[in-house]
């Protein structure tokens, strides 16, 4: 019998894409979809342990006041769950150990990177090795971008997908690795999942605006070594139906938006493998 899939969409403290992310999980067939406030985790009323698929949506955690998602990451690491010594990060560690799936989009990706959940070399999910910082343009921008998908990546979310088209909506999306070694290893281990591309070929581009933020090697999203944790700056949950596409009134498009593919891969994987 097919497994029951339970998705959690974490929100609160400035997160703002929870509604469409939850909608994406539902459309992709998740049996349970709960939008949960971080405060509910901290109050001990909800636990990550009760879910299989953790969604970290976009937004502005704590206003990105100390750098994108910094204060949010800090809360997950340091705030105790009421009446216990446990931190949300302890639940997260268990979630990962159990082989469950995490998707971080935009601010959620920034959060994963700053927590050290990505790229998590050698199973170390607590050391920050890369970052997402201010766009070279120095400004927030909303624009649609083409993504080339690495066919050799182990990323579960993009299996069999060749190219994607999603909007970016961020001011701090420039991907930088700590050093050349980290960058080399990311490529060598096929953890670079999606790269900004011109759309014509799938080749990575460095030119603005196709590469909207100046990301090193045009990196738009990476996964961990297992392929079960995935973070990206562009928003798959913003393209669930053809009417979301900026040119739907002039192009013939499939009913379902490309973003749904990402969520389907995740839900199907959980149903069949966990």
């Amino acid at each position: 019998m097919a497994r029951h899939v339970r998705s959690i969409v974490l929100t609160g403290n400035g997160t703002n894409c929870e509604m469409e992310m939850a909608h994406a999980c539902r459309l992709a067939g998740s049996d349970v979809v709960d939008i949960v406030y971080v405060s509910e985790l901290l109050a001990g009323r909800k636990r990550l342990d009760d879910y299989d698929f953790l969604n970290l949506p976009g937004g502005f955690l704590d206003g990105d006041d100390l750098g994108s998602a910094k204060a949010g990451a800090h809360r997950i690491m340091n705030a105790s769950i009421r009446g216990t010594d446990e931190k949300v990060s302890d639940q997260l560690a268990r979630f990962i150990r159990d082989g469950k799936l995490i998707l971080g989009v935009c601010n959620g990706f920034q959060l994963m990177v700053k927590l050290g959940l990505l790229p998590a070399f050698d199973g170390d999910y607590a050391t920050q090795r890369v970052t997402l910082t201010f766009n070279d343009s120095g400004r927030f921008e909303d624009r649609w971008v083409y993504l080339g998908v690495n066919p050799r990546s182990r990323c579960i979310f993009t299996k069999g997908i060749e190219g994607l088209y999603f909007p970016v909506r961020h001011g701090e999306g420039k991907f930088i690795a700590r050093d050349g070694e980290v960058l080399k290893r990311l490529h060598a281990q096929q953890q670079v999942v999606v790269q900004y591309s011109s759309g014509v070929s799938g080749e990575p581009v460095m030119e603005y605006p196709a590469n909207p933020n100046g990301s090193v090697d045009a990196i738009a999203g990476i996964c961990d070594e297992s392929g079960r944790l995935f973070g990206l700056m562009p928003h798959p949950e913003a393209y669930l139906h053809y009417t979301n596409h900026p040119r739907w009134t002039r192009e013939t498009l499939p009913e379902e938006g490309m973003g749904l593919l990402i969520f389907r891969r995740a839900i199907d994987f959980i149903r069949n493998n966990l």
Binding site: T11, N13, S39, G58, G63, L66, G67, R75, A238
Partner: protein
């Protein structure tokens, strides 16, 4: 102890903010600078060990991949000049607040530390002291809210750095209440009003004085220990409640209006006669399905979306604060208007923002009058404020526009609109109504109260003058508000409160005072109110407009649940008192009563203003320039006009897609950069029903006749909405009047004319909303948009923004403005007349003219119905409204947005009395569209249009050529669409 943690970018890491600052220094100020690097400074006040400081610096305060930090020594490295900019005491420091929370989390319970942030700009280059002073005061810091220090390299101590600057608010805590003697002569009354920024007239002061002489009043006040003299709390409370801002005195005045023929009419309230009057009339015609649910009674208007949901909409302005501090003013404007739909009925979830700005040219190059910021600085600051307010709140900014006119130099207009959605019923009760019972608790949630925003209501009821108070400026905090709205929507759905309202202008005095009308009175203790810092006087607590606060009525049985949910979600909530049925507005500070006013007097004691208006139609010289020889060049010049050109650089910086329901975006077309006419969103993701949002604004026509200006604004808003597919039968309007002072006085000698302009605009509003069946559901006015300092007076042009929110049954039928494919037929709908008065074409030649566009409502309405049917049947490939720049601009935009060419024959355009090509191309006759249609649908489309004015005027072509044959039969324009597009994009590509 005071410590400084400084954070800079590592060698080799790009400092995008530094680079952006460098660009601004070069572009805005024309000063050459070689390099700018930034350093973030956190000044921490608290007892912290070196280990703790290191944990803070290396933890939440810096990014180990790209940044380095220093503790108690400077991070800044080689530079010629250093400028450090921090906030003045009491100014909202959002980053500092987040930083302090992070410190608290790291150190554990009970270990508080204050954190103040500042930023260093390290400049390299051949700069002298005067340059650096200009950079600091003219670009980096706003002296009203910020403090800056300039340090040349030669004075730099690399061990010590810049000295610590701690903007702590230190005020002696002296919560005293003053009493004021109003039994004085008129001159003194006037002085009291002016000295306290009360904006009350002598007549109003006398009404207040007389109230305090009533025997019953004296007796009742005596019972609670008050003398017969008014307290400062009472006077301030009355002043804000009676302010123009809150009571709309001019809109409710008795106006004697004389027309150009000497005929006199008396109007008892413009608002009741024309605005509410038109809505009442329209609603009668909607029966049996009156989809207006709540109009003019709440913070925003409410209409039905479907059986399950209701829609809420409001548009506000935040002009004067934006003039003083563009960033903070605009940010507060947007998060402020968010609270209107949020505080309507039982509360709504916010689903869109729409913003319209009116500025002087960013390229203004004449001397600036005193206290006025350069329009480029206003433009950038307002843009950024709305960006942060909208984006950080997670509300998509779906539509808007920017209007330019030199007269907005004195005061920019910053219109911010927000829509919301709520379930039609909450726990079985209609969601759009409010009820409060005596005994319900008065609860304030969200931010704390400070001196910020004191006198905003009265201050915006005056012109901008030398003494305009700094405390009226404030900075919004979208994240505190976001946390509060998250909490309150949960509380709403659990039924934990009975009523909600916003703390905006007038603060608690206004929110609690208004809510108390529902129960019949209130008793409130200001001592319980949470403060940002000590030292506020009771009257300040009562009227402070500190942001991010909502007031609620919570029934006793729900109070525990309400407060514990607030605590869990880290939102401050405080019981301040109870609603009563006493008929009194009763305010205490601890045990002592500091105000006792009859509710009836507070709300209805204000005497009606009596005003006079006289309409004399102005007459301008008729333009006498010849038809240009090169019409292609003329078209390009028009596309480059500020009011026509692309606003993409602004639009891109607003998130217009968050919440996942974006259907028609502000940028559309082959490469996502054409100008969308109106927004379409899908607020409920499992439904295809949509909301359409559009705006109309045309202040230039008001120079000729505000009647036609208002008619054109309404037509434009409706036209835009219909162009994307809105049903004309389901549009609701919001009027937002921004006027210059229309009350005749020493300062305003032409007050009668300006008031007549207001009367005429209102008459048009009545006539056209009724003709179109588009009811106003809420509105706003801002009546003192003047600047008077010394001999200089600048008044804005009378400006009406008409915004519409509509419904679309199926968003999959929506249409965008870009030409779709080669071979499609190009049509123009509507008649072109010789109506260039107030047009962009005349303005381009320095003329106003007289032939203002006149809207034929009956004909337009029939055309809109027909077009709407054609769109509904899928017969229209593209539809673009003709507005500024007329047919020529609309055709060019349709072509280049679609990445396609066009062949057009002007001889086919339905026109009356138009003899010149330039007039035909650039006349701004209303109610016209450019439509493209697939050839196979030609017959069906033309059948749909039977009985209306329309014509096929050309075809869409593949090649990028835009070719127009003129009235004489010769080709008058042959341009490459990329060239046209470039002309359109270049001016504001900031």
């Amino acid at each position: 102890m005071i410590h400084r943690i400084e954070v800079g970018f590592r060698e080799g890491i790009r400092d995008a903010l530094g680079e952006k600052t460098k660009r601004k220094i070069v572009e805005h100020l024309g000063i050459e600078v070689a390099d700018v690097r930034t350093v973030e400074v956190y000044t921490i006040e608290g007892d912290l060990s070196p280990e703790e400081l290191a944990a803070i610096a290396g933890g939440p305060f810096s990014d180990p991949v790209i940044q380095y930090f220093t503790i108690d020594k400077p991070a800044a490295r080689s530079f010629n000049w250093l400028i450090e900019v921090g906030f003045r005491p009491g100014v909202t420091d959002n980053v500092g607040k987040t930083a302090a929370e992070a410190v608290r989390l790291l150190l554990g319970r009970g270990r508080e530390a204050g954190v103040f942030t500042s930023r260093q700009y390290c400049l390299t280059g051949r700069l002298d002291g005067a340059h650096v002073e200009r950079i600091a005061s003219g670009l980096l810091a706003n002296g009203l809210i910020q403090h800056y220090e300039i340090i040349p390299a030669r004075d730099w101590d690399p061990k010590r750095g810049s000295g610590p600057y701690v903007p702590r608010v230190v005020i002696e805590d002296d919560p005293a209440t003053e009493v004021i003697d109003l039994n004085v002569d008129d001159r003194v009354l006037q002085e009291i009003s002016a000295g306290r920024v009360l904006a009350l007239t002598v007549e109003e002061m006398k009404v207040i004085r007389d109230y305090f002489l009533r025997e019953s009043v004296i007796r009742e006040r005596g019972n609670v220990g008050l003398t017969s003299k008014i307290t400062d709390v009472e006077l301030e409370s009355l002043a804000q409640t009676w302010s123009e801002h809150c009571k709309h005195k001019i809109f409710n005045a008795l106006i004697t209006c004389e027309d150009e023929k000497g005929g006199v009419t008396v109007i008892d309230s413009l608002f009741k006669t024309f605005i509410r009057g038109s809505t009442e009339k329209i609603r009668k015609s909607l029966v049996p399905y009156d989809w207006c649910l709540s109009v003019f009674v709440d913070n925003a208007g409410v209409i039905a979306f479907n059986n399950r949901y209701s829609l809420v909409f409001k548009v506000e302005t935040h002009n004067t604060p934006s003039a003083l501090d563009p960033y903070g003013g605009a940010l507060t404007g947007i998060v402020g208007v968010n609270r209107d739909p949020f505080g309507t009925g039982k509360g709504s979830k916010l689903i869109f923002n729409t913003d319209v700005f009116c500025f002087a040219s960013p390229f203004y190059d004449k001397p600036l009058p005193k206290r006025i910021l350069h329009p480029r600085r206003i433009y950038e600051g307002v843009r950024e404020g709305v960006e942060h307010g909208g984006n950080k709140s997670g509300i998509p900014t779906v539509n808007g526009c920017i209007v330019f006119d030199e007269r907005y130099l004195g005061k920019p207009l910053v219109y911010c609109g927000t829509g919301g959605i709520m379930p039609a019923t909450v726990r079985g009760e209609p969601s759009h109504t409010k009820e409060i019972k005596p005994g319900d608790f008065i609860v304030m949630t969200g931010g704390r109260i400070g001196k910020d925003g004191i006198h905003g209501a009265t201050f915006s009821s005056e012109e901008l003058h030398e003494g305009s108070p700094v405390t009226a400026v404030q900075i919004g905090d979208p994240i505190t508000q976001n946390k509060m709205t998250d909490f309150l929507l949960q509380a709403r759905d659990r039924g934990l409160y009975r009523a909600i309202t916003d703390n905006g202008a007038g603060g608690l005095s206004s929110s609690v005072g208004e809510m108390a009308r529902l129960s019949g009175g209130c008793e409130i203790d200001l001592k319980k109110a949470p403060l940002k810092y000590a030292g506020l006087k009771p009257w300040e607590i009562l009227i402070s407009e500190a942001q991010e606060r909502m007031s609620l009525a919570v029934p006793p049985e729900s109070i525990d649940g309400f407060l514990s949910l607030a605590a869990e979600m880290d939102v401050e909530a405080t019981v301040l008192g109870t609603f009563t049925g006493s008929g009194k507005f009763h305010v205490r500070y601890g045990d002592a009563t500091v105000a006792l006013l009859d509710m009836a007097f507070l709300h209805d004691g204000l005497p009606q203003m009596r005003l006079a208006a006289k309409w004399v139609p102005p007459r301008y010289p008729e333009p006498d320039f010849p038809e240009p020889g090169d019409m292609g060049a003329a078209l390009k010049a028009m596309l480059s006009r500020l009011n026509i050109c692309s606003k993409e650089s602004v639009v891109r910086q607003y998130d217009h897609e968050v919440q996942g329901g974006s259907v028609v975006k502000p940028l559309v077309g082959a490469v996502n950069d054409g100008p969308g006419d109106a927004a379409v969103i899908r607020p409920v993701l499992d439904s295809f029903e949509g909301v359409v949002v559009a705006n109309g604004i045309c202040p230039r026509y008001g120079d000729i006749d505000t009647y036609h200006m208002a008619a054109c604004a309404i037509d434009e808003a409706v036209r835009n909405a219909v162009a994307v597919g809105a049903s004309p039968a389901r549009l609701a309007g919001i009027d937002n009047f921004c006027w210059c002072d229309p009350v005749e006085s020493e300062k305003t000698r032409d007050g009668k004319y300006k008031l007549a302009q207001l009367v005429r605009a209102n008459q048009a509003l009545y006539d056209y909303t009724v003709a179109y069946g588009v009811p106003c559901i809420s509105g706003k006015d801002s009546m003192k948009n003047d600047y008077i300092i010394g001999e200089v007076k600048i008044s804005i042009p009378p400006t009406l923004l008409f915004s519409v929110m509509g419904k679309m049954d199926d968003v999959r039928k929506a249409v965008t403005m870009d030409a779709k494919r080669e071979g499609d037929l190009v049509y123009v709908l509507g008649e072109t007349q010789n109506e260039l008065g107030g047009s962009e074409w005349f303005a381009h030649h320095g003329f106003v003219g007289n032939s203002v566009p006149v809207v034929n409502a009956a004909r337009a309405k029939a055309l809109y119905d027909a077009l709407s049917r054609a769109i509904e049947h899928g017969l229209v490939a593209s539809c673009h409204d003709c507005s500024d720049g007329g047919l020529g601009v609309a055709l060019a935009e349709t072509a280049f947005a679609g990445g396609l060419g066009m062949t057009i024959d002007l001889r086919a355009v339905p026109a009356r009395d138009v003899a010149r090509n330039d007039h035909l191309l650039f006349s701004e006759s209303q109610s016209r569209f450019v439509v493209t249609v697939h050839p196979e649908l030609r017959e069906r489309f033309e059948t749909c249009m039977e009985g209306h004015v329309w014509a096929g005027i050309g075809t869409v072509t593949a090649a990028g050529a835009f070719r127009v044959t003129g009235l004489g039969g010769n080709v008058i324009i042959s341009e490459d669409i990329h060239e046209l597009k470039n002309s359109w994009q270049r001016p504001l590509r900031f």
